[in-house]
Amino acid sequence: MNAPWIWRCLVSWAAPGQDRAAILSDLEEDFEAIRDTEGQWRARRWYRGQALRSLVPLLRLRLRVGARQVAEARREGVVGDLARDLQTGVRVHARAPLVTSVIVVSLALGIGATTSVFSFSRSILFPGHGGVERTEGFVSLYTSDDGGQPFGTTSFPDYLEIQEAVPGLESVAAVRLGVVEAVQDGEAQRLIAELVTGEYFPLLGVSLPLGRAFADEETRSGDAHRVVVLGHHVWTGRYAADPGILGREVILDGEPFVVVGVAPESLRSRFLQLRVDAWIPLGIPGGTYHATESELTNRRDREYIVVGRSAPGISGEQLQAQLDGLAGRLRTAYPAAWTDDRAEPRRLTFLTEAESRVPPPFRSVLGGFSLLLLAGTGLVLLVACSNVAGLLLARAHARTREMAIRVSLGASRGRIIRMLLAEGLLLAVAGGGLGVLGAIWAAGRLSNVPLPGDLPTLSLAMAVDWPVLAFAALVATSASLLFGVAPAVEAARADAMRPGTGSLRTTTRRTGLRRGLVAIQVAGSVIFLAGTALVMRSIESMDATGSGISTESLAVVTREIPEELSGQDAVAYFGGLADVALTDERIDRVALASVVEGTPFFDLTLARIRVPGQDDVREVVYNAVSPGYPELVGLQVVAGRGLDATDVRGAPRVVVVNESFARRFWPDRPALGRQFTVLERRHLSTPEDTVPVTVEVVGVVRNVRNTAESEGVPFLWVPMDQFPVRMAVLAASGPSGPGAAALALRQRLPAAPGQVSLVGPSPHLEVAALGTLGSRLALRGLGLAAAFVLGLALVGLAGMVSFTVNLRLPEMALRKALGADPGTVVGEVVRGALSPVWKGTLLGLLVVIPLAYLARSVLYGVSPVDPVALGGSLVLLALCATGTSLVPALRAGRADPNRYLKGD
């Protein structure tokens, strides 16, 4: 190799690195060839020429390649670092799978719980327009109720008056919520239905995706057709979105209805934005839930939500003035119906679409509820973040040594922070992703509130609240990133010469902070656990029928006497039905009543009475029953006697009252033997009912509670024989349970043509369920939060104890070596672990007891300091906490002295 070195060096310098070897090699090859043929001198001269001529192009090539490489390197450098950091992060997290999964789950729970609880309350408090496509000018109209509260429902005749006499409204519609039984393939299912007048759909401005809304003549009272508009989910779910559904028949309450349309998905009830399964024209004659004659003509029967659309150019004041004028005229024309219990005239008011989304009477209650929920969600997030913080701090401490080594090997602080941020990012992404999935899952779960019995599931318009989700995700991931870089702070102080863990020279620095975090988590769990327990107890006490009757084991069927029979024939007619029912072996007891306490229709039967010595006429709930009925439902007679077979027509008219009735009218005297006048009975009654009759109290029964609100309502039982009804409930029980009895009733007593029957077991449960709806909703939110928070707190506790034990393992080992009993060591660890637990418990109790006193009004029959609820939750917490700390404590007890003493 005799190439001139100086020119070689020049070429080598000028050539870009990737081609350098090849270029030199090529020059060498030619050089040798020339040298061999033409001699050394010529070869050298050739080489020099090549080098000089190549200099400029090579340098330009090198510059170009260099610039490209720099750009690529810059791109790859950041990505490469990040990729490396993420790889390291995965390894770090995989090394401690338990801690990692706990952090991820905490983040996920924090994000998921916060989002779902908040979304849930928001869907109740700030519902959407529920399918009203033209919101401007849309109003809801209210008649003040008996107590004078302005936002009550309206009677059908009054609705007709509003339609006629308020020029400021261009259109008015009435709607009411009901439950119908749909039968498909022999399977009965309860549906939530809205009974609407013909104006309803056009008024909302709803365009149906399939078919049409009701035609005018289809909804006219007394002349209505049996047509139905199906809910979108029913159409897509039960009928697989079959476009051929139009014109098909569905059986509702035993009658065929023709499907004429499918409602848009967004259309919901004006009440709580419930999902509606079917819309039926109001005014179909006959049937339980369909408008009866009385419902459509009686002004006292206020069952309807009335909505309207104001005429263009009409101001709110003008509309209100017109409503006031109408209310005044109605008061003059119908003084009895238009006077409330306080002897004040009733009023008509309206609210705009947005104002009417949450019924005003609920607004303050729901507002308080939402504040509680907000506080609750904040607490969940706080617990989740403190949990993540605690665990990351623990991990930071465990990594002191690693950080010290990194620093001593020359890692800059920035580099270490970047690495830790990448690790935090991994946790945040995993936790956040799970959280989002959890929130979506929970939204689906929470929006469907199952009710006991065979009531339809209530479906709320709930969707994941994305801004809240984003906020929760931001907070939670910030916590993981913030506390994730804690080791970097540690690293700044780290002394490579003083390794951190695994040595006797450990520090208990900042365990105080971690204990504080655990205490916060425990306090949060106490609050949620106790709250959940109180609400559970409250629902339990509402569900319990111990206060009166037991109708869970009953099957009921409603029957109306045929039109051609008079009220006098009713008893014989219904008696005949009872006899038929008794021929079935699945039924052993039957009784008749105009209502069954606790069924959805219990308050349909009202009587106006006048008690001697008291001026005002009172309205009370009454029930016309057959002998044997009180025993069947378990009414407890506390004074006098029940109704029996001697109380027939022609005998002295007698009644049995409940304790509330007795207390209300004769507060300081026994009620037995007292007489009063029944002026008028309403609903389901016969024409004779308008004749006043004097009755005598022969018995007093214990109060029956039908709903949370009805405790203390005066009740009155009269013999059916003396007070005939046109429609009655047959209640039956049988040896094989209410389901079999209901089936037997259905088979033995088929509905007559034109009659609609409602058959179902456990009617009592249904009403109890509706009465406790608010509590049930609260329970769902609270229960979910309690489970989340307790889980988080236990995880935090486990993390803290585990961390402490790790720190103290060498010490424990040493003590064992010096003869300490492993039991003592375990006991000490558990005691140490429980100290933040009881502090947190105390803190939680200090918060939850005043809260429970504030929320006393929603707790039914439960003291705010209910020992079962509070004690139960504390015991649960104590058990969980002890169990959780026992695992690491046992590890401490097994510490091997040899392992730890070697190092020191």
Binding site: V11, A21, A22, L24, L27, E28, Q50, V56, R64
Partner: protein, 111 residues
């Protein structure tokens, strides 16, 4: 079909690569010199190779060092499908431009 036009020297390099069984720097340079009589610097050749590589007309493989003492590696060049297309196009265009043209008969004018 690649429509990359080739400069004269690029065309020479491509044709040399196409012609040679083992196309690497020294061979290509020699091939061009022998056929065109034009002196080719190795620097200009490598700059052109790099440009053709960037255009996607050539691809390269660095061989292991030759098994002799001080043996160096060679940078072998190969036409890519695009390179072959570009070469087709360039030679066709040249052929079409020169088709039926007798350069001896071309009228010239002296200044």
């Amino acid at each position: 079909m690649s429509d990359q036009s080739l400069a004269e020297f690029e065309l020479f390099v491509m044709l040399a690569v196409a012609r040679l069984e083992e196309a690497y720097g020294a061979r290509i340079r020699k091939e061009i010199e022998e056929r065109t009589g034009r002196t080719v610097s190795i620097g200009a050749l490598y700059a052109t190779l790099a440009r053709l590589g960037e255009k996607g007309l050539l691809t390269f493989r660095h061989s292991d060092p030759r098994p002799v003492q001080g043996g160096r590696s060679r940078k072998f060049c190969f036409l890519t499908p695009d390179g072959r297309d570009a070469l087709h196009l360039a030679t066709e265009r040249l052929a079409r431009m020169t088709d039926g043209l007798d350069l001896d008969d071309v009228q010239v004018e002296t200044r």
